[in-house]
Amino acid sequence: MASLQSYYNKFFQNIRLEYQSDAYKQVKDKDDSISPKITQAFKEAGYVVESTLKLGSMAVGTSIKPINGGDYDLDKGFVITYDSSPENPIAPKEIIHEVLGNHGFTNHKIKTPCVTADYASINMHIDYTVFRPQEYGGIHELAVGKKHAKEPKWDENDPTGLINWINDNQYHKAWWHSLDEEEVAQFKTIVRYLKRWRDVNFCDSDRKRIYSIALTIMAKEQFAPSIDEEGNRNDHEALQNTIKNILEHNYFVNIGNDKFEISINLPVAPRREVFQQHKSVGTVFKERLEKMHNKLIEVNKTDNLEEKTEILNKLFGEDFPIHSETKESANSLHKFSGPGFVQDHGGA
């Protein structure tokens, strides 16, 4: 009989999205065609692009496939040299805005932190940001401001630092224990589970306000790994304990009348409050987290794998498979996964 972990593994395979996934190819291709045009337009305007940055969940390996016709996101940063950067941070954003508009993107807008656009035919949503290094080195500065912003600015921002923080093997609850490679991978898997849970369990408006970065920061800070010395993973236990830690931490502030505000700060510059104007989402967020935690405990109370997976299927949606008893031929050894042959690792 299969283990519960094997069903988590299948769930993971069903939801994971990588840069090289087939489902992402068109998005990648589109970016590959647009980015050089943006770089060229920058060049013509006198802005020298010294590098581009992969941002968002793709940069840290926590992307998941969208559901219900949702968009595939692409987050990218263009870093222009300090010397070539204009005083007005909106200027390069306007160039991006124009390039996008000329190449089939719709709904393209200059927002405070970035330029966003959609490409409807491939369910693609882009966020392009502009950075420059600080004059005397250190972390980057982000071009902040909308088109007619009163006080646009180049504001301290550390995208690389955030990526490193997420990928780092520390900065989690058991700070004295450095996570190993497998535990970091489990943490990222937990983030993916949480993001899918969010997508399934909240209405559109709430879902948009429960930011992926918030889930990532909470999961990282409260992560409780569960992999034994023999490499046996227990994602269920890791998820359950991580959520327990999240609920016990002081992210949710009681403001009376059973209402909660949520407060999480970015762990790196600009260290801003993640939820800023949407703290009130804390009430429904906390309530649903508690419900999820209870469901995970309910899973432990039954030994029946079908029952376990049914609970999880309701929690995570149809991509979490339900176990059914099928008789496998006692005479057939399950096939080997992998290539036709590999070099033997043992001798006698």
């Binding site: 283990s3 972990q5 593994n9 991978a185 010395e229 080997f336 590999v342 070099q343 033997d344 690792h345």
Partner: protein
Amino acid sequence: MFKITAERKPEINLISAYLNTKGYEHSIQGNEFKIKVPLDSLTVEIRAVIPEEFPFILPDFHLIDRLKMGRLAHVSWKPSDPQYADICYTNKNATNINFKDPTAVFSSALDSAIKTLSTCLNDSTTNDEELYREYMSVWGFFCETSLPILCLADPKPNDFVFLNIYSNSKRLIAASKHNSVNPNSVLSYKNLNLNKSITGKGFLISLECYIPLPAPLDNLMDWWQQQLAEIPKFLIEKINHQYHKEKARNFWIILHTVYKGNPFYIGLQFERKPEYQTITLTPPTSTQDLDKWSVIASQIRPISPDVLIPRSGGSTSWQDKHICVIGCGSVGSQVLNLMCTEGIGKLTIVDDDTLGLENIHKHTLSPLYLGTYKSDSLKFDLESRYPFVSIQSERTSLKGTNINNVLNWRNFDLIIWVTGNSTIEMKFNEYKLQQQLDVPVIYAWNEPYGVGGHAVLTLPEKPGCLACTYIDKSTLQLGLYSNLAFLKPGQKLLSETGGCGYDYIAFSATDAIQTSVQVIRLIQRYFNNQVEESIALSWKGDGHLADQRGLHFTRRYKKFDCTFKEIKIECEDCHACH
């Protein structure tokens, strides 16, 4: 007698001062003390001899007038020097001495000697138990003048075995053709080069009762007569009927019994008294002519599995086991050797390879066997060395296509695969499960560069099989790499000294021994019924050679902290055994 030198005197004075504080009446002569020691019911006199190297060597204690004490454990005697008898109060070869405090050394030693004496003198039950524990040593005191006898015969419980007694310049050998020594052993009837001149005859009589040892001053013939009265009458009649008249000049009786699981052998050599050299006499098992025989005690050295195997830490319970070993390479040869020392009775070994030059530093076979089939040569080598094993060798090549008909797998109590060929081993695992073979199987292999080794025991009718150890822990799918591995998959591991065809998995003889020890531990646990589920044992090396080659280690290697720790191998996601 040692001189009292200026350097020696301080220790003697210290000891004397100590004895005075304890109230022990004593006298000193040179480096010897005679000490009167009151025990519960009597006062004994002990001679303490302080050696030249004291306090780096413990003193000797002798019981004076020992022969008056009768049967006393831990106290020897020499018929040639009956006055002083050595008190065995500790194993002097296994002590850590507080040489900075000579008084403490002497006092501890004396206390120990007194305790030994007191226990044996005042508690007859303990004394008897201890006498039995040192049975062979005590009997040895009676055997001062006679040659020890090698006994090549298997005792038959409550029965007897007829013996011919052979002699050469060095030893006597009491032999029966009915023995469990394999014919290729150097200790076999054939290979002992027993000359055709028989010097005497005898019987090995195996009893199921306690045989009390004689006391130091006992007359041996009187003692023998008492034992004769205790031997079952039917047995004596049987012996006497079969050998009612004997013309042998010398006659030997070897008594055998088992007490608390330990076998004991007592030898008695009967010789015709001079005036009865030429006439026919009844054997000494009959009282009829007993007065015409004289008797001396003989120390027996049995060539018997119940003595020699436990003496090396093995178990005679392995004698009736039949184990099949596939693979006679570095690890296989070590496994076979160790199994023989453990007391395995029967082996079938399978390998179609010959011994090459490149093997000689790792293989147990010497270069004398170069070019020969490993299986045949190991049979010869092991049988000659280990008397109680019988080996069948097969020069068979096992392939995925002939596994089901090359051997009758159900004949074995255990099957061990040490081929280093995971393809064929996985195939066997599949076959075993399909056929529901009711035989436990061990698979063992080394990783290269001293990184480690693994042994997996799979039990019949229990979940957990070799395929469980090939389930990838991240995908939970059956893969081609073992999840026990210490080196990450997909790396270049083969060493090459001559290009294609000359590459190999590099590991040392020490690595092979280490892994073979894991195999033996698994066998021990299985045969001792200490295992209830399929398990693996791994050992981990320091990995510096792999490190030098830029190889990467698995998480398991980094976390692994305990060689000999059993790991359950059962994996719920293994479709082979679930």
